[in-house]
Symmetry: C2
Subunit: 327 residues, 2 copies
Amino acid sequence: MEKIKVAICGYGNLGKGVEKALLNPANNDMELVAIFTRRDPKEIETISKTEVISIERIKDYTDKIDVVILCGGSAKDLPEQGPTIAAMYNTVDSFDTHAHIPEYFEKMDTSSSLMKKISVISVGWDPGMFSIARAYAEAILPTGSTYTFWGKGVSQGHSDAIRRIAGVKDAKQYTIPIESAMERVRAGENPKLTTREKHLRDCFVVAEEGADLERIEKEIKEMPNYFDEYDTTVHFISEEELKENHSAMPHGGFVIRSGNTGNNTQIIEYSLKLQSNPEFTGSILVAYARAAARLNERGYYGAKTAFDIPLSMLSPKSEDELRKGLL
Amino acid sequence: MEKIKVAICGYGNLGKGVEKALLNPANNDMELVAIFTRRDPKEIETISKTEVISIERIKDYTDKIDVVILCGGSAKDLPEQGPTIAAMYNTVDSFDTHAHIPEYFEKMDTSSSLMKKISVISVGWDPGMFSIARAYAEAILPTGSTYTFWGKGVSQGHSDAIRRIAGVKDAKQYTIPIESAMERVRAGENPKLTTREKHLRDCFVVAEEGADLERIEKEIKEMPNYFDEYDTTVHFISEEELKENHSAMPHGGFVIRSGNTGNNTQIIEYSLKLQSNPEFTGSILVAYARAAARLNERGYYGAKTAFDIPLSMLSPKSEDELRKGLL
């Protein structure tokens, strides 16, 4: 059987996560054939020694690539690159700006439908796996409440926000779910939880020499949207300590549905505990790249989300093998 | 929009669970129109006052019913009734004899394909929801191990096996997952676990007056396949105590995938904590009945499992609403 030819567009942490997943022999029904970048290709050394090509030349490879995995950021890269590339290639991405998903879906759908390509959007772990957990649980237990907790994990957005404060040299922010709130949910209490009751924020900050630590701590804790609605702890540490203890990119989270049938409480819980967020997200994108290639070959096109794709499409196993081994 | 017309075939605990789910106003895109039984319909009183009809007359209702939910047992009822009914109606069932699924699938597929009906098989929680958890996790983390733990919950099969022992009047058996084994899995150890290391069996037995308790306990603990490979505890209790404390039908379980990407461990965990096993399974069947009706209307037919059905088909919400609210 011919291998599915995959390209990566954007070679940051996520792009490298995708590359590692494609190097896994268990995924050898796929092969990585190109990495597109906005940077100077000569400056980039890849783990797999795959050819690195300027994104400007992406349109020249349409006969060599089955799926392009879009690894740019959701804020600027994907809204710009997505619709253009979706008109040329089957695509997969982890677009995660929840509020803008309907708009992004429409644009990707228009673009990919035109050329009868398939564009699978928002298939990271949230949105993506957690969306499936939420929709599946709600369909089965329509009476009840769903709770999503994130962490413990590094929030890139919150870390960046701290770094923009005057006097801050570097920072890492951890989002931590509050265990007692999760226990109430698991006990079937269906509590109404405020933002503050669901998550804590824990910040590790390297200050410039002589900076006013009190002011920095106050600015962090009072920052609107990012921190003001949370209980936030600030630790000032050295640059070495930050590098040594806070360089990893762990994350995770919980989706808990507490529902009722008759007089009975039924709890469905889905959770992730990830040592590397980008490697995990990369692995999800690779599984959906397989699905995208297969579905397009069967004649499906347009934008799709995790809700639209049968799980059998994600596995390298045949439908017979899945029924025999995993059902 | 016209409601999906649903019938139940088999009115035991599971049939009643389905009936309760159909009475939930959140599922009012469906309506229960008939209950088929092998018993004398006159002897059956239903919660919803739905018409009860002898199963012998099931072929006369093909213009009145969109989906029949098969609520018979997997050992005898479904292999017999399933293929016959699947030739007349779209069907949904929770066939759960794992070893016989491929054979059952083939029979249902032949039968339903002939009349261009759809037969959704094995969509309880295991097989069903847990199958999805296993296949999804393995597709995303192909390098790793998957563990399924069941309980704490009542095993009907094991309870029945105890009841067949001479001198036993009644019994309930609980399957209990061993917490320390689960912790090793969650820690990413990828342990090799024997049957004995994964689950305990806890038995509550009502003995006939004057029965030899020591012999009964020995017969339980040494029973091949059912108990001999487990650490089993036997408690002799009174009939009243059994009725008062052990009449509920709780169950649940855990699917844990421990996988690796690069040098990192990634853990995916899915769990259920159910106060009523039949009501929960009934709720799953109802969601898949919606999917069966919709898919058949779109021209799909033949046997399908949980792996083949996009999750958007299960929800009463539109695809737009799902993307906006749950993605």
